[in-house]
């Protein structure tokens, strides 16, 4: 395969130049994006010829108790490189972040799964309802305070 993992610091510099203030921090493996700027950054990463991330490997989420972290793994089939993008979502009552299902259709079911099991609302998702559990289930079982 020969996929190259892009350094988060280098990507962060280019994204920051394009959209100032959108990147919170970065390290060798990932960039942490401001959740309000996520949609624009993801669109840039997909559509800019330099990055050309035409494939979304997966979307997942982590419960850190004081905030949720949504994690996106991107791959460019043409450029043969990958990147990990993260965004922090504060609050436990009504955590919200922009949906990227319009950019990569593969995100559709995965965002529904995160909504189902973690309770994060993806704003702009075309069909945001439970996917694994049944309608009317009480709670979000992958949250650390479930049970």
């Amino acid at each position: 395969m020969g996929l190259k993992a892009l350094a988060g610091t280098e990507v962060a510099a280019k994204v920051g130049a394009k959209a100032p203030g959108s990147v919170v921090s970065s390290d060798q493996n990932s960039i942490l994006v401001k959740s309000s700027a996520l949609a624009g950054v993801m669109r840039f990463l997909k559509e800019s010829p330099e990055f050309d991330f035409n494939y979304l490997n997966n979307v997942t989420a982590v419960d850190n108790l004081d905030h949720f972290e949504v994690v996106y793994n991107l791959t460019s089939m043409k450029k043969k490189h990958t990147l990990c993008v993260k965004a922090r979502v504060p609050g436990r009552q009504n955590p919200e972040i922009a949906s990227i299902a319009a950019l990569w259709h593969g995100a559709d079911f995965q965002e529904r799964e995160i909504y189902d099991l973690m309770g994060i609302r993806f704003v702009g998702h075309p069909n945001l309802k439970r996917i694994a559990l049944w309608d009317g289930f009480n709670g979000h079982p992958l949250r650390k305070d479930f049970l």
Binding site: A132, L133, W134, F137, G139, P141, F146, L147
Partner: protein, 206 residues
Amino acid sequence: MPDYDHLILPYSSGDADKDEGLLVNSLIARAQQPIADPDIWLGGVDHGGVVLTSIDAVFGWARSKSLWPMLFGLACCAFEMMAAAGNRWDISRFGMEIFRPSPRQADMMIVAGTLTWKMAPAVRRLYDQMAEPKWVLAMGSCAISGGTFSESYSVVPGVNRILPVDVYVPGCPPRPEGLYHGLMELHQKIQKAGYLKGNVHLPRLD
């Protein structure tokens, strides 16, 4: 009985065409006379075809030896069930090889695997659609009690919460031998239950 021994062909190694010629010629040489037709059926049976037994015994024997299972599997136990149906263990030795894809034609349900609450209404509906008499075999820890998922938010803690279970086969998953043991226990249960006692009718799940 007619004697076939003169038709047994010799094996040989060497030139294949030459061997074939030898075989055919030797078969022709030894097949100059027709073999006598079997005549064991002549004269009927010694007891005149009369057997004394009970209807319960006959029907129990017939039912238990032609159980048609419902074709569905829920989880990894289904692979052991498939192995049991395959040629190595060969469930057709028990007259059960006809896994029916329709509940209308099935006599028994092997609940092979973890049953989730989301799947439970579908399984109960399939059970309701099966014609009487019908039997249920719970295969594996998950079907028996929920197994390692028994305290989960999404798993039914034992299929006997929604179905009457006749036989429980423990294991995670049970090997085909274990499934067969459960099936043979079920055969005995059917044999003992009798035909004339009637069947238990459950209230429908509406």
